[in-house]
Symmetry: C2
Subunit: 339 residues, 2 copies
């Protein structure tokens, strides 16, 4: 099973699909292994079976798979059918699939067809956002900011400030690649003028770059945001009157944190990374819409500047013990909301 | 020498004196060891020699002492004289005494009297404040605060907020015991109403509790500060008109950070711990009067509240890599100013 989990982690382009690994074992020997590689393409079980030189070998074998095999016709035919056809004797699964389209149906199908099923109910961080999404019916929201030792996220309200070191910057790129949406407010767009891209990796499904603005028509079209092809979503109270690039989508409405998150949920997006600024972060935290906080703490003192979360009354929340990682001179601090 | 450094650390009541350890060795055997125990009392070398059952054994021995032996008549007679009298052949010292009253004179005296002297120039954190004080002619200033993950040091401007956990609280008591002055501003006195005592230890020389106020006459005499006997110093612009307890001293003048630090320096106080609030900390940082920052970071988010250092233009400063220690759910983060 450990091997199956390692195999699962190889899947870098599963997008909103879970990362899954599968290992086929017979007489204490590994026959083959596979993982779900790319959103919309073959599942881990099928990839493992495909690698068998002699397909009849699967008869009587045990399949270790990190997630309950699917039972529905989605973008690919159901895996459980294939498993039964191949004559696999036993399936050991890491966890039940929380997606209601499967959720126990895969196990039931297998058992109904005389396949032995063992569920390890292993809790891992393999598909945290995926599991969260189906449990809570909304994406996992991470608030991330770089902060000085005196709690400031910028030095001057009008200019972008350099806070993090190179290693923290690289780590934050990694964090972006693990999220399906990156969300910022209009001040951050204007002042920081970010690209919001993942520059370290070539992703098949890069995160959607989302911006909440009051008026789409005052957005500077020369912003760095428009200089790359990854999707851009604007949440605006006004309709657009300008010609915008093809990768831009505009959602017009009276947007607030709940409504934006609801729309992401409806679109099946499982993870949102909020990257500033102080006011947007306060708006989300005020609504309790924060599940994880990642702070890159720098060995700097600014004195002047905006706080990480704007001065706003927020509900009482509990967070897990602070987890810390040294990134040269900086620290990466992570905590999860637990109540 | 390692043993001498360990011995030195036993000195808990040396106050503004350095902690010093001494080990007497002959024929590869430790004859005796001692440390400076209490401000104004016998030095480490003397304490080591006193422990010899036969004083003549010291003849021809080597003395390992963490600090250059003194050459002056202070509260005790000069150690170098004693060393020569005892017939000690060689002295290995950890570092030169930065106190100008000694500073090389001890070594010179010994060499002039045919004692071999070896200086290891070992840089340790044994007497950081002592060394800093003589190098910079002012006390070492540590700014310490407990902060939430969003950079707040309180939740409500009018009420004391609980930020740290028990372990961070205990650690901060330890930090107090390592400083000779604890300094706060009048808002912190009024709102937090702290005792500023070291409750975990029974110190012979507890830190002086210093408060900067505009008007001494508006201080609430029922404050917790007045409920214990450790010295209290007020820096006030006005003269006192009330009857105050005996442990209270008032310094009247137009005080600012530089003037207060200058007075501490004049009094021979080598270390100052600044414990709030946001404005006082900003005033000191603005003047570059900060050498070390200690932050107890809590797994809390407040939204509303004051920043650790009030919104003020401060000079550009460099700090060392962030040092971190886990204190259960909290973190202790330490950094030193390096430029």
């Amino acid at each position: 099973m450990k091997l199956a989990f390692l195999e699962a982690r190889k899947g870098q382009n599963t997008w909103t699909n879970p990362r899954v690994g599968a290992v086929l074992v017979k007489n204490n020997q590994v026959l083959s292994q596979g993982h779900h590689e790319t959103f919309g393409e073959a599942h881990a079980e099928v990839n493992a079976l495909k690698k068998l030189n002699d397909i009849t070998k699967a008869r009587g074998a045990t399949l270790y798979v990190t997630l309950e095999p699917c039972s529905h016709f989605g973008k690919t035919p159901p895996c459980v059918q294939k498993i039964v056809e191949m004559g696999i004797k036993k399936v050991v699964i890491g966890q039940v699939d929380p997606n209601p389209i499967v959720s126990g149906r895969g196990i039931k199908y297998l058992r109904d067809h005389d396949v032995i099923v063992e569920n390890l109910e292993a809790s891992t961080n393999l598909n945290t956002a995926y599991n969260f999404f189906y449990k809570n019916k909304r994406p996992l929201i991470t608030v991330k900011y770089a902060m000085t030792l005196d709690g400031k996220i910028n030095q001057d309200k009008k200019v972008r400030s350099l806070i993090s070191n190179q290693k923290a910057y690289e780590d934050s790129q990694q964090l972006r690649s693990q999220n399906q949406v990156i969300l910022i407010g209009e001040n951050t767009l204007k002042i920081d003028n970010p690209r919001l891209t993942v520059r370290s990796q070539n992703l098949m499904f890069p995160p959607i770059r989302a911006v909440m603005v009051r008026d789409i028509n005052i957005v500077d079209l020369n912003s760095h945001l428009f200089q790359s092809q990854e999707p851009i979503w604007f949440f605006s109270a006004t309709k657009n009157q300008h010609k915008l690039p093809k990768n831009v989508q505009i959602f017009v409405g009276e947007w607030n944190p709940q409504k934006v998150i609801k729309l992401f949920a409806k679109k099946g997006l499982e993870s949102v990374l909020i990257e500033g600024g102080s006011h947007l972060q306060a708006d989300f935290v005020e609504q309790g819409l924060v599940d994880k906080v990642v702070v890159y703490l720098a060995n700097k003192v600014f004195g002047r500047g905006l706080p990480a979360i704007w001065d706003k009354k927020i509900p009482s929340m509990q967070f897990s013990d602070l987890d810390v990682e040294k990134l040269d001179s900086n620290l990466k601090i992570t905590t999860w909301r637990i109540g």
